[in-house]
């Protein structure tokens, strides 16, 4: 095997670490080669901003929650180091570590309330933190904190005669930030963040504790930003509120990551390495005439990126090199290595007669609309229960109540002997309740395998174990030949099979299946029914919402019929299709006649 082959065979973290090592070596050589102190300063600053870009990317690039407030953590780190040195004479060697920890904690404290918000509300709320801090620091009287020169033992205070030492320290920070980013990205941490980015509801339903991973991301991200800020104070020797809490700081972190390539390891580094020197050089030349030139450069850069390469340079280059390939995040591994061990998914039969799920008095209103109204029913272990009813009968609302997307106004849900009160969907998934969606919610930019692996995380420790379960589920639904495709390339039937596999991979006791037959042709429908019977054969209890009575009658043990949110009837298929209430509310008078005629036709054949 040649050297190149060896390199290519390395995957994930190992390959990243090799690249980081090579990069650090080149940067080190360059730093030692340059003796001009201005260029040395630029090399230091570039690395600091690359770290900030990575910090932003770790939260916003991976999870898709755009932060406009990373200056808050950067500024806190900078002020902590500057004030500790000027007031207590504490060395930055110690206080940068302290700033890292303190800012990590502040990230956690910011995240706890702010993650109640999503999308643009989150972005706007994040903006308020650094700006509020900016005015507080001005008010307290820290308009300008200068770091005192330590003549006795300068190295002890990170003050060096030769600025190359600052470049080297910045490089150490950068290597650490890259290493952490790579570890996160190649772990279930990063996969969970990606799932949140692509579809937060689907991630939550698939058992991902979205709040936990978001908090973890903002904590790590803020810690890195705090370290960068603390070190920045040491390099520049003076800290002002506008320079560290200002809008431009948050904007730069965002711009470097988005410019280089959002959600990639090297994007933020690339962005900083292009834009920082460019703006510094222009600033040095034209600042006298054009004081805001840096801001203009960054503004133009980000406008250009949004218009011409919305995901950043790295993704654009990739799309140009491989024009026919869909943008795929995560891995492109195959199920071939993980086998089809169906036994992994088997649910052992229960001796106990208590129902898997018991619902009593369940009620939910949206404004004046009573979507669910005093609903009572239960499901036996291993049963296949069909839920039918006209459009707007409250079927999907019932599923949302069961899996925890919405909270009931009244009533109780008992699942496997435990009352479900405030459990979030991921906790219910962990307890053994999985679901699919009426409108499929795939993680579009992930492969089929990764989609299903995400479902398996909830009960597995390692990526291998998760992959084994995912592989078993993929084989069971028959998608093993498509496992490496991005979910966005799947057909309707394949998407629904993939969602079923994702649900199966979480090793559920109960699966809620929402209109999985919708839009399938008769052959595909029979195929799907066969898969559902296989799932049932594993001992898994199924509740299925469906409109196709023909298909349902073949499949289910028992029906629950809903109308206007209330229970209209329940019972075995042959009784339900003859129930006059059900015929009036849902099936229509012709249904039985048609059935009878179909039966006669079959008899004549």
């Amino acid at each position: 095997m040649t050297m190149m082959d060896t390199l290519k065979s390395l995957t994930g973290v190992k390959r990243d670490f090799l690249h980081i090592g090579l990069f650090a070596g080149v940067y080190l050589l360059l730093a030692l080669f340059i003796s001009n102190s201005y260029y040395q300063l630029i090399m230091t600053i570039v690395a600091v901003w690359a770290v900030m870009g990575l910090s932003w990317n770790l939260l916003s690039g991976y999870s898709g929650l755009i932060s406009f407030g990373h200056a808050a953590f950067f500024g806190l780190g900078a002020y902590l180091v500057a004030l500790c040195l000027s007031v207590w004479n504490l060395s930055p060697w110690f206080t940068i570590v302290l700033a890292t920890l303190a800012c990590g904690l502040s990230g956690l404290l910011v995240g706890l309330p702010t993650f109640r918000l999503r999308g643009h509300y989150f972005a706007l709320a994040m903006l308020a933190y650094p700006l509020a801090l900016l005015y507080i620091f001005e008010w307290v009287g820290y308009q300008e904190v200068a770091l005192p020169m330590e003549r006795e033992a300068p190295a002890l205070y990170m003050q060096f005669d030769n600025p190359v030492w600052h470049t080297l320290l910045a490089l150490v920070l950068l290597v650490l930030a890259l290493g952490i980013s790579s570890l996160v990205a190649n772990n279930r941490f990063g996969m969970s963040l990606l799932a949140i980015k692509l579809d937060e509801d689907a991630a939550e339903a698939a058992g991902i504790n979205t709040l936990y991973w978001k908090l973890a991301a903002i904590t790590v991200s803020a810690a890195i930003a705090g370290a960068a800020g603390g070190f920045y104070a040491v390099v520049l020797l003076v800290v002002t509120p506008l320079a560290v809490f200002g809008m431009l700081v948050s904007a730069q972190a965002l711009i470097f990551a988005m410019f280089g390539g959002v959600g990639t390891l090297w994007g933020p580094v690339l962005g900083a390495f292009i834009l920082v020197p460019l703006s510094e050089i222009l600033y040095a030349r034209y600042a006298a005439d054009f004081p805001g030139i840096q801001g203009v450069v960054y503004g133009v850069a980000i406008i250009a990126v949004i218009l011409f390469a919305p995901q950043g340079i790295l993704w654009k280059v990739r799309a140009l090199l491989k024009p026919d390939q869909f943008r795929i995040l995560g891995s492109t591994a195959s199920v071939a290595d993980f086998g089809a061990r169906e036994e992994l998914l088997v649910v052992p039969p229960e001796e106990d007669e208590t129902p898997v799920l018991a619902v009593s008095g369940l009620a939910k209103a949206f404004g004046g609309l009573q979507a669910t109204n005093d609903l009572n029913f239960s499901v036996r272990h291993g049963e296949l229960l069909g839920i039918i009813g006209p459009n707007g009968a409250g079927k999907t609302t019932l599923f949302n109540l069961l899996n925890g997307f919405i909270r009931p106004d009244a009533g109780e849900i008992v699942f496997r002997g435990k009352h479900l009160h405030k459990q979030r969907p991921n906790q219910r998934c962990a307890a053994g309740m999985a679901r699919t969606f009426q409108v499929p919610k795939p993680f579009t930019h992930l492969s089929v395998l990764d989609n299903v692996v995400i479902g398996a995380y909830v009960h597995t420790r390692s990526k291998e174990e998760a992959s084994e379960h995912a592989s078993a589920a993929i084989h069971l639904v028959g998608l093993h030949d498509e496992c490496h495709l991005p979910a966005a390339n799947l057909t309707n039937k394949q998407l629904r099979l993939m969602e079923l596999a994702r649900a199966l991979a979480s090793k559920p006791t109960l699966i809620l299946v929402d209109e999985i037959l919708a839009g399938l042709d008769p052959d595909a429908m029979q195929e799907m029914l066969a898969v559902l019977r296989k799932v049932r054969g594993l001992g898994i209890t199924i509740i299925i919402i469906e409109h196709s009575m023909q298909a349902m009658v073949q499949l289910v043990d028992r029906f629950v019929v809903l109308d206007h949110g209330a229970l209209l009837a329940e019972g075995s298929p042959d009784r339900i299709v003859r129930n006059p209430d059900v015929i009036e509310a849902y099936l229509g008078k012709n249904w039985l006649d048609n059935e009878a005629r179909d039966g006669e036709d079959a008899g004549h054949d």
């Binding site: 702010t114 008010w139 711009i255 801001g295 980000i302």
Partner: protein
């Protein structure tokens, strides 16, 4: 300080808050139109306000000395004129930049284009404020005239011990702001143009099938939003001093007002802005001046965390 002194301070702050709040309310209306019709969070709205301020400032500096224009009303007229001028700029920016990530184009982008829109308008904000630094300079300026330093006295009341002074420039600005809001409300409610904007906001696809040019509706809405906020800025210019970076703090004030009123609701936005103005001025009684904005940012956080659908409007109401 005795109780009456507190009463006087409170009334004084309340009146100032209502007057300033009317201008904030007007700016909030501009912001909420853009969100209401286009579902776009415009981050550069503070910079459009800033441009409205400088428009008023420079026109005043250039033409204000001409004998014909001499008069205390002139700056207020200029503020209103900032509207049409900034409308054209808004339409141009929409056509060249915003249009690429909104409307029909947005559906091909991740997360419905929300992130692209946020980041694009952030870029526009950076270019405008830093370009403004180059063109306008960094020295704080204002469009002060004799009305800015004149006040009507309200009172004395309570046995000659309480008097409230009502700043004349603030009062005129507030009244004009109110007129612009009412006029715009009539435009949206009564005219064919207003109906097409509301239809485009309500359901872009259905509006397209009904023969409404949604791209054009968006362009007009963006122009209106920019123009109205710029008028607010122009009116504010007679009452505060400003520099090219002023947009960032005011964009938060605007968002605080808009979120308070419920994103997308015109009436809610005006009331929200009014509330923020009162909050800002009244908080100054007990808190140091520098913390006025911190109070607003903290209020903004509390509002958005507790009740992101706002207090005055229904959730995501249409402009």
């Amino acid at each position: 300080m005795d109780g009456l002194q507190y009463l006087e301070n409170f009334l004084q702050s309340l009146v100032a808050g209502l007057l300033m709040g009317s201008m904030y309310g007007l700016m909030c209306v501009g912001l909420t139109i853009i969100f209401g019709v286009m579902r776009v969070i415009n981050f550069a709205q503070g910079e459009f306000m800033m441009l409205g301020m400088y428009f008023t400032y420079f026109c005043f500096a250039w033409f204000g000395t001409w004998a014909f224009f001499d008069g205390v009303w002139f700056p207020f007229m200029l503020a209103l004129l900032a509207g049409p001028a900034m409308f054209l700029l808004g339409v141009l920016i929409h056509r060249l930049l915003i249009n690429a990530v909104t409307g029909r184009q947005a559906s091909q982008l991740e997360a419905g284009g929300h992130y692209a829109q946020l980041v694009l308008t952030l870029g526009i904000a950076l270019v405008l404020q830093n370009g403004g630094l180059f063109i306008f300079g960094s020295n704080p300026v204002s469009v002060s005239n004799e009305l800015s330093y004149s006040a009507w006295e309200w009172g004395p009341m309570v046995g000659d011990r309480v008097s409230v002074f009502v700043n004349q420039a603030q009062t005129i600005s507030a009244i004009l702001a109110l007129f612009v809001v009412i006029g715009f409300g009539q435009l949206m409610g009564r005219t064919r143009l207003g109906k097409s904007l509301r239809a485009a906001a309500d359901n872009p696809d259905a509006a397209t099938y009904m023969g409404i040019n949604v791209d054009r509706a968006h362009r007009v809405a963006f122009g209106f939003g920019v123009a109205i906020t710029a008028i607010g800025g122009g009116l504010l210019a007679s009452n505060v001093s400003f520099q090219p970076y002023i947009g960032t703090e005011y964009v938060i004030i605007m968002y605080a007002g808009v979120v308070l009123g419920g994103l997308g609701s015109v009436r809610g936005a005006f009331l929200g802005g009014l509330t923020i103005g009162v909050l800002q001025q009244v908080s100054a009684i007990i808190l140091p001046n520098q913390l006025q904005n911190t109070v607003i940012f903290v209020c903004f956080l509390i509002i958005i965390l507790l009740r992101p659908q706002g207090f005055f409007g229904r959730r995501e109401r249409i402009a």
